[in-house]
């Protein structure tokens, strides 16, 4: 068998494998992968928030202003650069206080996993609103806005 024939056979097998994968698994899943066992403490998957908790949380948007081209309308806005000022706003502070009182979960997100802003904003909220108890109701989102955007269910809400 010549090398051309061998190459064609391999190419054919690759195409068949790709087709089989598409038929079994469907289209390429663009959602941000989230593995429960790999999460850090207080980190949560978007699927947990939406599918298990029905999205019944207070969202905190920790992105910088220039990153907020699309928003979750109900989200509180607390950016890293002006966290003290944002936390001192009436609606923001009162919503966090009421959520804590009712034991409602609060989920902070920033642009990506590695921006670090959601952890910082979470720590600021903890420092002011939470004493040592109930800290596990305040979480940050794995994948940040990328996860929300690729999932799509929260967009326009």
């Amino acid at each position: 068998m010549s090398w051309i024939k061998q190459s064609l056979v391999f190419a054919g097998i690759a195409v068949l494998c790709a087709l089989g994968t598409y038929l079994v698994h469907g289209e390429y899943d663009r959602r941000v992968p989230c593995v429960q066992s790999e999460l850090e403490k207080y980190e949560v998957c978007l699927t947990t928030v939406l599918d298990e908790w029905g999205g019944n949380v207070v969202w905190v948007d920790a992105r910088a202003d220039e990153e907020k081209k699309v928003k979750i309308e109900s989200a509180l806005e607390i950016s890293e650069a002006s966290a003290d000022e944002d936390l001192g706003k009436g609606e923001v502070a009162m919503t966090l206080f009421n959520a804590k009182g009712k034991g409602k979960k609060i989920v902070v997100f920033c642009q990506t996993d590695s921006c670090g802003s959601s952890k910082y904003v979470r720590d600021k909220i903890i420092g002011i609103f939470f004493s040592e108890e109930n800290q596990d109701t305040l979480l940050y989102l794995h994948g940040g806005w990328k996860a929300i955007e690729s999932d799509g269910r929260l967009l326009g809400k």
């Binding site: 068998m1 061998q6 992105r63 910088a64 220039e66 990153e67 950016s79 890293e80 650069a81 002006s82 966290a83 003290d84 000022e85 001192g88 009436g90 502070a93 009162m94 206080f97 009182g101 920033c110 642009q111 990506t112 996993d113 590695s114 921006c115 670090g116 802003s117 910082y120 420092g127 002011i128 609103f129 004493s131 108890e133």
Partner: protein, 236 residues
């Protein structure tokens, strides 16, 4: 045929392993910087060199936070992201912090043509500290429902590293706090230390309030400090 295929696969794996190990050499991948209190823009440079015997190309470099921009410069002034063996470069993190104060970590990610994984192999961390020149001794004061109406005290201190005094020039309640809390501010040392005594007027229902203290600092990030006041449900 299969023996040949196996040989090709082995050679490919070996080449991949060698290629994966080819990376730039950085003096450090974590830089800690303490800034002046009035800083607006912080530059954190990371110098590197291609100490391998292969050419390395930077495919992309990025700071995944909008408060930081990454720039690449070369001492040879070439406008190229291809680094031949021995060539040097500098990645500069440019950080803007608004009214932020305290310590924060921000990263720059660099992907080269040798990277095979999903995540870039080079992650540089800028750890920036902006001095806190004025702060309250605690961020909140708490009472439980049905607690006695006993006062609590906190202080506002100006750090020794502040070259000039910072005076409290105005203060006010928020969220109708005047109905629930009373407070008194006393000067311990003008422009350096203040003592504030807060007394709840009632603890019959859960309440939140704040008191904001405005200063005469010329630097925006030190113009205001605040404390939150809570009457909370007693622990069940």
């Amino acid at each position: 045929m299969f023996r040949k295929l196996l040989e090709i696969l082995m050679i490919y794996s070996l080449c991949s392993a060698v290629a994966m190990s080819a990376e730039f050499t950085f003096d450090t991948k974590l830089k800690e910087v303490t800034t002046r209190p009035d800083v607006e823009l912080v530059r954190v440079p990371f110098e590197f060199q291609n100490n391998t015997d292969e050419e390395i190309t930077i495919v992309n470099y990025d700071a995944p936070c909008s408060c930081m921009e990454a720039r690449m410069v070369r001492p040879d002034k070439k406008n190229s992201l291809v680094f031949a063996p021995g060539e040097k470069g500098t990645v500069i993190g440019m950080l803007e912090f608004g009214t932020f104060k305290g310590t924060i970590d921000k990263v720059i990610k660099i992907r080269t043509d040798k990277d095979k994984g999903e995540e870039p192999s080079i992650v540089l961390t800028c750890r920036v500290t902006i001095p806190v020149l004025i702060a309250t001794s605690q961020e909140s004061l708490r009472w439980k429902m049905r607690d006695k109406l006993e006062p609590k005290v906190f202080s506002i201190k100006v750090a020794d590293e502040s070259e000039t005094p910072i005076n409290i020039v105005e203060h006010k309640h928020g969220f109708g706090a005047s109905d629930v809390f009373d407070y008194k501010i006393e000067t311990v040392k003008e422009g350096r230390e203040y003592k504030v005594t807060v007394t709840p007027l009632k603890t019959t229902e859960p309440t939140m309030a704040y008191v904001k203290f405005y200063t005469d600092s010329k630097i925006p990030r030190y113009k205001m400090v605040q404390i939150f006041l809570f009457v909370e449900h007693a622990k069940k």
